[in-house]
Each structure stands twice: as structure tokens, then as C-alpha cells.
């Protein structure tokens, strides 16, 4: 009896499997006959997703023979997914990727140089003229342009007006200018009646963000973490030690930040600010304002330049995303053409998601006049530098994250922590 049941079940399953194979092969062949299918991968960011879904619909309407498969992937999974897929000869046709990760792919020969003709410009010079020099440089690798800038941002400093007032401070007059200010003001904000749970929310648990924060903090103390060519590391330089020790002291000495409150996998530092848990935050770019309006609509805030040490006026690091095409794509020209369409709709990204694609045209367009505090952001862009382009950025940023956490969470001295980091980073520098 049991045997009969098993035979019945297995034959049904076999028939279903056979049917499935037939279905999937016929549908596959049907799709390649008439249409070009472009696989476009990007990182998860809901406001941008909304904008891109509308743009994709528009593009498909204008180009009926093109079908775009849109796949948002969570940020942390994208490097592994891209590396293994391109290594295997596959991968997407176009992907939106964090700019710092690109050298890792470019050094392996995984990225196709920008096809200017398909993109629709005469040559490289005309292409670069669309962007400022620091930004154009950030997407050039060994003399070749390898990506289209597709979001450029820099963190600003945000403060909660109500928390400031409750502590008897004026959000404009008392906006912190130095890190010493941050320490004293943060203590006042925490001790005020009904005050914030933590004076400041600091970036943590994000290798990407923390490397940016650490690099800019170090630049403010004198020099960046790496030489521009990525061949030399200044991770244990006095400037870096000073920067990281200041970070650690805000947490462990001034005690105006509590790492156990976050950030976490689902709650960013700026979310802690938006919810009122923290009175200040050192991350969040122009893209944060729509979030504040939508999700945290009751908050009254002031956004300004990043505090510094008073040595120079360096601000937060520039960072960004780019559109890249893998060498394994079989529709490279079509991919660049679609990338051009997205780039030309910079206005939609700006108005819909508060995201600046990095192009000069949007920076000085009339649309920016409608964005509150745009002069603050524009000034921030001028004060920042990209982190050096590192081939082993993923591993190095992880080592930096470990070094930061040793100081911030475990109270190790910055000098000791960075000595260890420097030893680990040595073999990973660009050759």
C-alpha cells in the first residue's frame, strides 16, 4: 500500500517537474526572440526605488522592445552577489554600486569602460565636463572612466531644535563648531528635563559609513587615512589617532553617545535622531530631508556643517554611487543607453528622493532653490573629498570598523587599536 502511495506521489512530482522544465525553456526562448532584457541591480533605498520604478515604466513605454528587470538588493549582500556572478561569467547588465567598491571590481577587469557613444556624448572630455573634477576623478580608474556618477552626497551635522531649546540653547547661535563644543553641548542636552537619551547619535556598525566618518575626522586633524593612489596607509598617523580617540572619548568619557541604542541592522543613526532618541547626529545627507518630512514629520531640526578641530575647514567625505556595466554583459550598449536615460532624469531623483546625481547641471539648477537648506549641502560638497580608491576596500573597511569598535565599544586606546589595524592593512594596499 505504502509503495503504491510513493509511486503515485513520485510520478505526480515527476510530471510536474517535466512540465516545469518545458514551461521555463519555452518562456526563456520566447523572451529572447522579440525583446532585449536588461537586468538592473541596485541597492535598497525606498525613495529612490519609487523614482526608478516610474522611470523604468517610462523607458519601457518609449522603447517597447526593451524589458528591464529591476532588482533592489540589500546593500550588504551586493558585493558578494556581484563578485561571484561576474566571476562566473554572468551578472547584471547594469548595476548601481557604491563607488568605493568599484576599484575592487575594476582591478579584476570586471568593469567595462564607459562607452561614450552609446551613452550619447562625443568623447571623454565632454563626459567629464558634466561633473566637477573631484567627482569625475572618483569614477576614473587608471585613466579610464568606468562609471557614471549616480548619487553624490556628503554627511552633514543635524541638531534637534526642541532638545536644544529644552536645554536652554539656541539652535543657530549654539550650533556646535568644534568637537569640544559637541562634548559640552551634548552633556547639556542629555541632562535637560525631558532631554534626549543620548546627546549625539554616531555612526557605528556600518563598515561603509564608519570608514567615511573616520577618514573625514582624520582629514580634519591633518591628513587623510590613505594616499590618493591607495598605496600608502596613514591609519596609525597622529592625525588618525587623534580623530579616533576623540570619537571614543565622546562615547566613553563625555558619555554623550550610547552604542547599545544603535545603529543596528534596521535602525540607522539618523533614525535615532529622527525619532528624538538622540539630539544630534553626524550622518545623513541631503537625502535625509525627505525621510524627515515623511517618517519623522514632527521633528524640528537645523542642519549645518560638520564640526571640526579648528585646524582646517574640511567637512565630511564625499561618497557616492555609480552606474557600472560588467564586461560579462551581453547588452552593454543598451545598458549605457538606459544609464544615460536615468542620468538625464536627475531632476526626478532630486525632487522625488532628495538625491543629487552629482552632475553640475542639477547642482546649479532652479530645482535646488526649492530644496530647504540646499546652500548648506552645496557648501558641504565643496568641503569634502572622496576616500582614496582602494582595491581591497571591503577588507580594509572591515579592519577599520574593527579598530573603531575596539576603541568605541571596548575602550581600547586609539593608538593601540590603530597599530593593530595598520599591521593588518599593510598587505592589502594597492600595488
Amino acid at each position: 500500500m505504502k509503495n503504491k502511495r510513493i509511486t503515485a506521489i513520485s510520478s505526480v512530482l515527476a510530471i510536474i517537474a517535466l512540465a516545469g522544465t518545458i514551461v521555463s525553456t519555452t518562456s526563456a526562448s520566447a523572451s529572447t526572440k522579440a525583446k532585449i532584457t536588461l537586468n538592473y541591480w541596485t541597492h535598497v533605498n525606498p525613495p529612490t526605488q519609487a523614482v526608478e520604478k516610474a522611470l523604468i515604466a517610462k523607458y519601457q513605454l518609449k522603447n517597447p522592445n526593451v524589458k528591464i528587470n529591476y532588482l533592489p538588493v540589500d546593500f550588504g549582500s551586493l558585493p558578494a552577489k556581484l563578485n561571484s556572478s561576474i566571476a562566473g561569467g554572468g551578472g547584471p547588465d547594469l548595476f548601481n554600486y557604491f563607488q568605493s567598491y568599484a576599484p575592487g571590481l575594476a582591478s579584476k577587469g570586471y568593469l567595462a569602460a564607459v562607452d561614450f557613444k552609446a551613452f550619447g556624448v562625443v568623447n571623454g572630455t565632454r563626459f567629464n565636463s558634466r561633473y566637477t573634477k573631484p567627482i569625475a576623478d572618483g569614477f576614473t580608474w587608471k585613466g579610464k572612466v568606468i562609471g557614471i556618477p549616480h548619487e553624490v552626497s556628503a554627511f552633514q551635522f543635524w541638531i534637534n531644535n526642541d532638545h536644544f531649546k529644552a536645554a536652554g540653547l539656541d539652535p543657530v547661535a549654539n550650533f556646535p563648531k568644534t568637537w569640544a563644543d559637541v562634548a559640552t553641548i551634548g552633556a547639556k542636552l542629555q541632562s535637560a528635563a525631558g532631554g534626549a537619551k543620548e546627546g549625539i547619535a554616531l555612526s557605528l556598525n556600518s563598515t561603509v559609513r564608519d570608514s567615511l566618518v573616520f577618514d573625514s575626522w582624520t582629514r580634519q586633524a591633518g591628513n587623510g587615512l590613505f594616499s590618493n593612489d591607495g598605496k600608502t596607509s596613514y591609519v596609525n598617523s597622529p592625525a588618525a589617532i587623534k580623530a579616533l580617540q576623540t570619537w571614543g572619548d565622546l562615547v566613553n568619557v563625555s558619555k554623550i553617545n550610547d552604542p547599545s541604542l544603535g545603529p543596528t541592522a534596521s535602525t540607522n543613526a539618523e533614525d535615532l535622531f529622527g525619532s528624538g532618541t538622540a539630539a544630534m547626529v553626524n550622518v545623513g545627507g541631503s537625502w535625509f530631508q525627505p525621510s524627515l518630512a515623511q517618517t519623522y514629520s514632527t521633528i524640528k531640526y537645523t542642519v549645518g556643517q560638520l564640526p571640526n578641530f579648528g585646524i582646517n575647514q574640511v567637512g565630511a567625505d564625499l561618497y557616492g554611487f555609480g552606474l557600472y556595466v560588467p564586461v560579462t554583459s551581453k547588452q552593454q550598449a543598451a545598458a549605457w543607453k538606459f544609464a544615460r536615460f536615468l542620468a538625464d532624469n536627475a531632476g526626478s531623483y532630486f525632487s522625488g528622493a532628495g538625491v543629487w546625481l552629482g552632475d553640475n547641471r542639477t547642482l546649479s539648477s532652479s530645482a535646488t532653490a526649492k530644496v530647504a537648506n540646499w546652500s548648506v549641502f552645496a557648501q558641504g560638497f565643496k568641503r569634502g573629498y572622496f576616500l582614496a580608491q582602494l582595491v581591497h576596500y571591503s577588507e580594509i573597511s572591515q579592519i577599520l570598523e574593527d579598530a573603531i569598535q575596539r576603541v568605541v565599544i571596548n575602550g581600547v586606546s586609539a593608538k593601540d587599536s590603530l597599530a593593530q589595524a595598520q599591521a593588518q592593512i599593510g598587505p592589502l594596499l594597492n600595488q
Partner: protein, 304 residues
């Protein structure tokens, strides 16, 4: 003189020597024919890669071009890598944190089950369900339950930041893993309890021993090998724990839930540092095989 003559075999008629060797050859050929196809697959897709892991661990390679030989450099670099040491620690914490509560609960559940006549299979089915469900699904469900303003917190009236805090995140994973595996451990204990010699137990109760004495002096010593087996299995599972931390915490916060398997995957596929990842894989291989051998020995001793 030592010429051998056909000796009467207990089985009866004994074929002549020549016929016997031809038969042996036939048997050998048949045996190999039955074994080789499957074995070749195993050789190609399990044994060969294991050798490959050892070879790759002595190279520096980032998935392009040719690997370059670097000797023991990768092993040196993992020794000074705090993330590797932390991954080992996390793996150890998961092993203990699942084995001890898991085996205790399994013991209690097993002792309860053994007193039940009918309905055992219904309970077994229910206990087993968490293990049958795809690990992704249970991770998604528990992930949703662990959310800050979510179900678990509102039920207990607490506000524990489950996945935000390093300590709580580890607990979150441990609770999920115990929930997933307790059914399997219980069934093992139950099977072991079923094998207990009933006459000894009955004899002792006639002698006046109460439940606790019977348990302490008879049941527990006989059940000990099974419990040991559970501990060994939990350790092996901790070594290969990947899906739940990958989905729930991606190894964070600050590496508090980054098991060795997760770190190997990250190093190999996100960092594409194949040499270093392979060195860690070899460490994993050695530890896993050692525990598997222990597992076999414990299992065999429990059969005695």
C-alpha cells in the same frame, strides 16, 4: 605437506578453486560496478574540493588570473585577525548556548514523552516542525518577532533591542536555534529512553526506589551517551551555522553573531580573498572532522 584439499564448508557444497576465483572476480566486478558511479560523484564534488581547499589555502588569489603560492602566510594572517578569533568564539558560544539548554529540554521532553502511551507521534510531529521549515522561513518569522516595537517586546512589556545589542542578538540567535533543534534532540533522547531495560527499572521500584533515585542511578547513566551525542551534534551545527545569522544580523552587531561559516563566506565572496578564506575553511574542516569522529565513537558506545 601442505597441499590444500577442498575442506568441507559449513555452507555445504564448495565449488572448486578455479570456479571460486572466477566467482570472486565476478563479484568484485559487480561490486565495483554498483559502487563506482556514486563514488565518482562523491570524489568529484566532495573529496576533490576538500583537497582543493587545502591547496588554495596556500595561495594568494582574488578570483582573476592565476593563484600565487604563498606558503603559510594565510594561516599567519588569520591568527592575527581579531575577526577570526571572534568568529571562533561566537561559534563556541553558539555550540554551548544551544547544546546545554537543548539537551536539558530534550531530556525533560523525552521523559514526559516516554510516559505517554498514545499520541506520541502527534507530539513528535509538532516538536519536529521547526526543523522541517526552511531555515530562511523561520529566520524571517523570528526576525519579524524580534523587531523593536514588535511582538516579543510588547508581550513581555519590555523594550529589549534584540538585534541591535551584541549580547541580545546572540541570545536571539540561540533562542531561535534551540527552538529549531529541540525536536530532533528530543526524539534522540526518546529513542534512547525506549531502549532502557524495563526490567531493571521495575525491579528497582519494587525495591522501594522512588522516581528520583531511579532516575539518578539508572536512567541518567544510561542516557548520558545520548546527551553527549546531542552536545556533539550541537557543536557541529554551530560550526556550520550560516542562514540564521546571515538573514537576521549579517553577523553583527560588531561581529557578535558572526559564526565561522559566515566569516568564511564573507571573506571568500565579498572580499574575494580566496586564500585567506580557504585557510579558515581548512581549520573548519579539521575541527568538524574531529567532532564527527567523536560523534561516531559516542554513538557506537551508546549501542553497547
Amino acid at each position: 605437506m601442505r597441499t590444500q584439499v577442498n575442506v568441507t564448508d559449513l555452507r555445504g557444497t564448495f565449488p572448486s578453486r578455479r570456479r571460486q576465483s572466477k566467482q570472486n572476480k565476478r563479484e568484485a566486478r559487480a561490486g565495483l560496478a554498483f559502487v563506482l558511479p556514486a563514488f565518482t560523484m562523491i570524489a568529484l564534488f566532495v573529496l576533490l574540493p576538500s583537497v582543493g581547499a587545502i591547496l588554495l589555502s596556500a595561495t594568494k588569489w582574488y578570483l582573476v588570473g592565476k593563484p600565487s603560492f604563498v606558503g603559510m602566510q594565510n594561516y599567519n594572517s588569520i591568527l592575527i585577525d581579531p575577526a577570526f578569533r571572534q568568529a571562533l568564539l561566537v561559534t563556541f558560544q553558539v555550540a554551548i548556548g544551544v547544546a546545554i539548554p537543548g539537551s536539558l529540554l530534550a531530556l525533560i521532553f523525552g521523559l514526559l514523552l516516554i510516559r505517554v502511551g498514545r499520541g506520541v507521534s502527534i507530539y513528535q510531529t509538532i516538536f519536529y516542525l521547526p526543523l522541517v521549515i526552511p531555515s530562511i522561513v523561520s529566520s524571517i518569522i523570528w526576525g519579524a518577532m524580534y523587531v523593536g516595537n514588535g511582538v516579543i517586546n510588547s508581550f513581555f512589556g519590555d523594550n529589549i533591542r534584540w538585534l541591535a545589542n551584541p549580547t541580545w542578538a546572540l541570545f536571539a540567535i540561540l533562542i531561535l536555534m534551540v527552538w529549531t533543534n529541540v525536536g530532533y534532540y528530543t526524539i534522540l533522547v526518546y529513542a534512547g529512553l525506549q531502549d532502557l531495560p524495563q526490567e531493571v527499572l521495575e525491579a528497582s521500584s519494587v525495591d522501594g526506589a522512588n522516581y528520583w533515585q531511579r532516575f539518578r542511578y539508572i536512567t541518567f547513566p544510561l542516557i548520558r551517551p545520548i546527551l553527549l551525542f546531542v552536545i556533539v551534534i550541537a557543536t557541529t551545527d554551530a560550526l556550520t551555522l550560516f542562514v540564521q545569522p546571515y538573514l537576521l544580523t549579517q553577523g553583527g552587531p560588531s561581529g557578535a553573531t558572526q559564526t565561522l561559516s559566515l566569516y568564511i563566506y564573507k571573506t571568500a565572496f565579498a572580499f574575494t580573498d580566496i586564500g585567506k578564506a580557504s585557510a579558515m575553511a581548512v581549520v573548519l574542516l579539521i575541527v568538524a572532522i574531529s567532532f564527527a569522529i567523536i560523534q561516531f565513537r559516542v554513538l557506537r558506545s551508546s549501542d553497547d
